[in-house]
Symmetry: C2
Subunit: 231 residues, 2 copies
């Protein structure tokens, strides 16, 4: 996906060659995905222009993109905000991921090279360290990268796109859960998944990822129900 096709051997400035709307998009996406923007929070175009130090055209384009992906929503009249999920929405996300993630994990199990598995294991080890460190942001990023890597390995671009889009929808709420529970309370099934992938056991891989997804998403659902009750 790197479009830094220079014919010169050394690339001194690979990042500045990216269009501004692309870099803005990535920054904004990270802001949503890792919870720097809270659910329900309103975002303004001009506020983002100042915050990210950019003109308004690139910001507007990035916003349209995020809105189309469901990461942001425009409420009634032209205002943009981070979506607030209710129990029904989380139920939809659970249903979707419970079907999508196992399928992609099966495909990834069939296709992953030893090198891929090593890289995946390395991410998971970093993830464990982030948990022990109590580094919530690191946990969120590495957990995302772990699942994202599996999507990429599945070699199914459309389904991977869909799965990736789902992450953008519950990212902000996941951050809220971590804020309540702490990183300790979020065990995962990554070890089971990695073992199954190494053994090329499709069935076990699908079951491991299903358990991981359900566990994490149910925690989001319950945390959300608790928030409503406390309201």
């Amino acid at each position: 996906m790197q479009k830094t096709a220079r014919k010169t051997g050394s690339e001194a400035a690979p990042v500045s060659r990216l269009p501004a709307h692309e870099t803005i998009y990535r920054q904004l996406r990270a802001l949503v995905l890792f919870g720097d923007l809270a659910p329900g929070q309103a975002v303004t175009i001009q506020g983002l222009c100042e915050r990210l130090g950019a003109g308004m055209t690139p910001v507007r384009e990035a916003l349209r993109r995020l809105i189309a992906e469901g990461a942001l929503e425009l409420q009634g009249n032209r205002r943009v905000s981070v979506p607030l999920l209710d129990a029904g929405h989380v139920g939809e996300l659970i249903f979707a991921r419970q079907w999508l993630d196992p399928h992609l994990a099966e495909r990834a199990t069939a296709r992953a090279s030893m090198e891929d598995l090593r890289a995946l294991t390395a991410i998971d080890n970093d993830l464990d360290r982030a948990i022990l460190r109590g580094d919530m942001r690191g946990y969120l990023e590495l957990n995302y990268r772990f699942h994202r890597r599996i999507y990429e390995l599945a070699d199914a671009p459309i389904l991977a796109d869909v799965a990736d889009g789902l992450w953008l929808r519950f990212g902000p709420s996941l951050r809220v859960v971590c804020g309540r529970v702490g990183t300790q309370g979020l065990p995962d099934k990554h070890k089971d998944l990695l073992a199954a992938m190494r053994a090329r056991d499709h069935q076990a891989a699908a079951e491991a990822i299903r358990a991981d997804v359900v566990q994490g998403m149910e925690q989001v659902r319950q945390s959300l129900a608790r928030a409503v009750r406390a309201d």
Copy 2:
């Protein structure tokens, strides 16, 4: 061009107050969905500005949105084109719809009012007339509206969004199929589905929609394989 609304006391123009980027998006979306743009065809911003009689900022925003939804793709350099599907992509779409559409149909069956069912039946009757008339564009639009209505009735906004996004991806190719086969060669299972929904038979509704989806998508896959062979 629709700026006919004055700020005079009487509010006579409720609809024309839509932003330009929104109307541009809808026009462009229809262009993609109903095959006025062929797969592989390149689109230029300035060309669209002239074609739709709009400034370039709204066009750019609409394009970003369509690209994010997978309806268009930007190839390495900054050119934008209608995606060309291969067999693998169609396989992914079949897999996704085979799971998503039955689920949404089940939910719609549980929730649809008699009024909803009458409206759905009316759409299907119009669809039949379009087929008899040999009106391909009408067929494509009404078939889409039929399925789209079911998504809406399911009361699952996120899953409906995902399903809707899938349509944007195979819309152009569906048009190509119709161009080869003609409207006669595309029977559907809508009658079975409507009967099942009237009887509130979830199981039968899911099965009917599954058959409809598989039948239609397999035709796309085969037509596409034939195109490759002829290439």
